[in-house]
Symmetry: C2
């Protein structure tokens, strides 16, 4: 954790009381008075966010930037410094100040964030030009092999015990597949693993390459229920240790090999390729490298599936998420995803957008997380609790509002005619 | 028809006898002797095509360019001029010389063409760089409103009676949907119309915009079976006349309005947008214009479907097809198709590749066509019969080999949550 982050986290622990009661921060010599110019800037900021239906409430009780429509939540800005930061860079600082306890939300956090996403989407609908102009400044870091390792370590190696608190029993940390919205999370994650296997049309004795295997649930499911041999790659040390242990416990270590290495270093020839929830971390500039890996790894009869968070159009990552949660991550648009397949002439058979299934998955995760915040706070601290609450609620809001998509892309070698005649088989048991 | 075409067509009428019996063509002063250099060039040509398993047989009985593998068909080159043209530009001149009767195929034409496609695809697998270098020279003409009209007139206005000979009873001139490969064509075209309606989730009283409506089958199906109001655009005069007549006959002219105009001139707001088999003629440089049309035509709850022939990667149209069959046409890759949707932030929900269904559709069309060649020859001439045989067999080969794809892309306005929870509903009646 950086020095600055540590300081913010420290502050957050004392964030229960109103900032107005504190001494003014030294670098804000003007104290906590709100100036007319700041109110104008705050109104402009709300406009730039598309005027979401929220009430902004300052530390002294002033309410600012009413938008005409009935507010669905109240955003409390607790000190002058937080106000200035928010005006300067709302997309980053809303999260930073929320984590630090200097911004609070009265109302349902996910609904508040969904309203912000929806307002920004309305605003952005004809905003392509601005987005293109800004694109170079939002370019993610190039994910070289060592940088990818640092990025993944940052998120996935914070402790399996933490993830156990709110994931399903199989530790599947990707979008589930709910046969109906009322299905439970355990059932929906098992259904997702199966849905992926069926889309891959696995048959016993085949070999599968998996890149980005998380805690190993899919690899073990494929081996156990479809009788295939799996080589599964991951650069998260903790996840690999966990997955190997599970393979041994379940007697599947003869069928599944968990390898701690980068996807760019895979070797061998396989009947199928699968990657669920890795692409978000690959970075668009490495898609052709990933395509080359798939191309050299697949047999001539090979086929594959890539499951990834995506966007309706190429867009930068929310800067707060990129800084705090997923360094180096960038969910692609479909045209960007095609950079994996088109240069190698793979034939895309099926693309399915499961956006609302990810919203539902996140509802479950958020509920389980909230039921365990006391344990989370003991493991880490209050700021961590707030950071992860914002991340989970924000992701839920992003999928509900349509800011984020979830794409499953099934593909084959070009010209392969041993493909399903229709998709009917996926919907009959 | 150009002077050159007319001459070729004239020659073709006398093409029943071996060219060797004719006087040498005046501009080929060397006569019909085959030189070693030409044999070398012919071998190189076969290499450049990826060495398809075909035997080339010259007018004097010489067999050239055996490839090692057992030939599946014999290609007879009937004179020296045809040989020289073929060597110079095989992708264009194979078709030109076939149409002129100066090249013949012994064996099943579609199988021969499939072998050529498959060989070229193997060859092209790592040939991106060449393809990129050639791309500017293969750029299609820009399809302005008047040019689009000329292009469409060329193909679709050659006579409804001709199309009636080999299309289904509803005159659906696009890929059908076969619930099983053994389904009949009439059944499969009706199933396709229904599948499109179900993907669009039409409900009675809704309004639909259709661009490129052919002879009106889909518009009438939507009106009749889904109770919607349709505005259907087309720039083919003959098709519009036919469709209007059919609407009157079936008493649907109150629900369906057939408009002879360019898609760029549509007006109004609609619940759904659909376009089946038009995109191939739009030209990639006009995709953003098409996206803008959809964007200004769809209500906020709107959704749509685009059905189009496509490619695994951006590729030029076969030059013979572009010259003789579909001027200005260019089937897109998926990344190219996304240029319709991404600039406007439409949310792609579902992409289905129905390539093998188009191969099956073409099998039916070709069989019906062959059963009616005598009538076709009376309507036109022998060269026309050969041109259309090559086009239908070549298209069948292209879909079977995987050179061509068929994409159905379903989309919605961004952030719309009234979307199907799963695709199960498409597979239960």
């Amino acid at each position: 954790m950086s020095q600055e982050r540590a300081e913010n986290f420290g502050k957050a622990k004392n964030a229960g009381t109103r900032i107005a009661a504190r001494a003014p921060e030294p670098r804000l010599a003007l104290g906590n008075r709100v100036f007319t110019a700041e109110k104008v800037l705050l109104t402009r900021m709300m406009e730039s966010l598309g005027n979401p239906p929220l009430a902004l409430v300052l530390w002294d009780g002033q309410e600012i930037a009413g938008t005409g429509s009935q507010p669905i939540a109240r955003v409390l800005i607790r000190d002058h410094g937080a106000l200035l930061k928010l005006i300067a860079n709302p997309e980053l600082e809303f999260g930073e100040m929320y984590t630090a306890g200097r911004i609070e939300v009265q109302g349902i956090l996910a609904d508040c964030l969904e309203a912000i996403y929806r307002a920004m989407m309305r605003r952005a609908r004809y905003g392509q030009i601005t987005q293109k102009l800004l694109a170079p400044f939002n370019a993610p870091l190039r994910n070289t092999v060592p940088r990818a390792r640092r990025n993944i370590h940052h998120h996935y190696d914070i402790g399996n015990d933490f993830y156990k608190l709110w994931l399903d029993r199989d530790m599947v940390y990707t979008c589930a597949y709910f046969s109906s919205p009322s299905a439970g999370l355990e059932e929906a994650q098992a259904a997702k693993l199966d849905y992926v296997c069926r889309k891959l049309r696995l048959t016993p004795g085949e070999t599968v390459l998996e890149t980005g295997c998380g805690w190993g649930a899919l690899a073990l499911h494929m081996a156990k229920h479809y009788g295939v041999m799996v080589k599964a790659y991951n650069i998260s040390k903790e996840q690999i240790v966990f997955a190997r242990e599970r393979a041994r416990t379940e007697g599947l270590d003869g069928q599944v090999q968990f390898i701690e290495d980068d996807y760019r270093n895979v070797a061998g020839k396989f009947d199928a390729f699968v990657s669920v929830g890795m692409l978000e971390h690959v970075g668009v500039d490495q898609y052709q490298a990933l395509g080359a890996v798939i191309d050299r790894s697949l047999k001539d009869t090979g086929r594959g599936l890539v499951h990834s968070i995506g966007r309706d159009r190429p867009s930068p990552m929310t800067p707060w998420i990129e800084r705090n949660i997923f360094p180096g991550a960038r969910p692609p648009s479909l045209s960007q995803m095609m950079q994996i397949f088109e240069p190698f002439g793979f034939s895309v058979l099926d693309v399915e957008n499961l956006r609302l299934h990810y919203a539902k998955t996140l509802e479950h995760w958020l509920l389980r997380y909230e039921a365990n915040v006391e344990r989370v706070e003991k493991m880490f601290d209050a700021a961590f609790v707030r950071t992860w609450r914002l991340y989970l609620a924000g992701s839920l809001a992003a999928f509900r509002s349509g800011d984020m998509q979830l794409f499953q892309v099934s593909f084959n070698r070009a010209g392969q005619n041993r493909i399903p005649w229709t998709r009917q088989y996926l919907y009959t048991s």
